[in-house]
Symmetry: C2
Subunit: 145 residues, 2 copies
C-alpha cells in the first residue's frame, strides 16, 4: 500500500471517529436535558395528585420546591445548540424568548413554593394553575410520535 493511501485511510478513520464522538456528545446533551425535563414532569404529576387529594398533602411544599430548583438547572442544559429529542430548533432560533420563559418559570415556581410552605393545598391550588407547562411546550416541544 502506498504511503499516500495509508495517510488517506488514516484521515478517513480520524474523520469517522470525530463524527462518532460528536454524535455521542450530542446524545449526552439530549439525555441530560431530558433528565431535567422528566424530573419536572414527574414532580408536576405528583403535585397534581396531591391537589386532587389522591396523594398525601404533607409533601406538597417539597415537591413545588423541587420543581423550582430543577427549573433553575434547565437553562444550562439547553445551552448547547443540539436539536433532537423533542426540542424544536426554535429553542435556539428564539433563544432570548425561550431563555426568558425559563427565567419566568424559575421565578413563578419559587413564588408558588413559598406559598405552598405557608398555605398548604388550599392556599396553593390556584397559584399552581399559573405553572402551565403547556404554554412553552406548545411552542418549543415536538408532539410525541
Amino acid at each position: 500500500m502506498s504511503p499516500s493511501r495509508i495517510v488517506l485511510m488514516l484521515v478517513a478513520s480520524a474523520a469517522a471517529f470525530a463524527a462518532t464522538a460528536a454524535c455521542a456528545d450530542e446524545q449526552e446533551d439530549i439525555d441530560y436535558r431530558q433528565h431535567i425535563m422528566n424530573t419536572l414532569g414527574e414532580q408536576m404529576a405528583a403535585i397534581q395528585q396531591i391537589v386532587q387529594r389522591k396523594a398525601p398533602a404533607d409533601n406538597l411544599a417539597t415537591h413545588v420546591q423541587i420543581v423550582a430548583v430543577t427549573a433553575a438547572t434547565a437553562k444550562a442544559a439547553f445551552k448547547s445548540e443540539v436539536p433532537g429529542g423533542r426540542a424544536k430548533p426554535d429553542v435556539w432560533a428564539n433563544w432570548p424568548d425561550f431563555s426568558k420563559r425559563l427565567d419566568e418559570l424559575v421565578a413563578a415556581t419559587a413564588a408558588v413554593a413559598k406559598s405552598a410552605k405557608e398555605g398548604g393545598v388550599q392556599g396553593t391550588a390556584a397559584k399552581l394553575e399559573t405553572l402551565k407547562c403547556k404554554g412553552c411546550h406548545d411552542v418549543y416541544r415536538e408532539e410525541k410520535k
Copy 2:
C-alpha cells in the same frame, strides 16, 4: 322483582363500586411513589453524566440537593401498604429496615449535597459512590420484567 332481591343487587353494586374505588386508590399510591423514585433516577443519571464529564458541572450541587430533598418525600409515599409496581411486599414486611434505609439515604444525600456545594465534581465524586441505589433495590425492588 322482590324487595329483598333489589337490596341484594344494591349491596352487590355498592361492593363492586367500593372495590373499583379501592383499586383506583391503590394505583394512585403506586403512581405517586413512582413519580418520586423516577425523579431520583433521573437526577442520579444527570449526576452520573456530570461526574463522567459528559454534562456541564455547574448544576452538580443542585442535582445532589434535589436528590436529598426528593429522598425526604419517599417515606410518606411508601407508607400505605400497597404492593405493586416494582415494590416487593418486603417493603412492608420489613418496614423498620426499609424505613431506616430511607432515613439513611436522606442523611447521606444531604451530606453529599453539602460537599458538592463546597467541593465541586473533584471533591464530590468519591462521596457520590456512597449513594448506591443498588443496595436497597436489590432487596426491595422487583427485577424489570
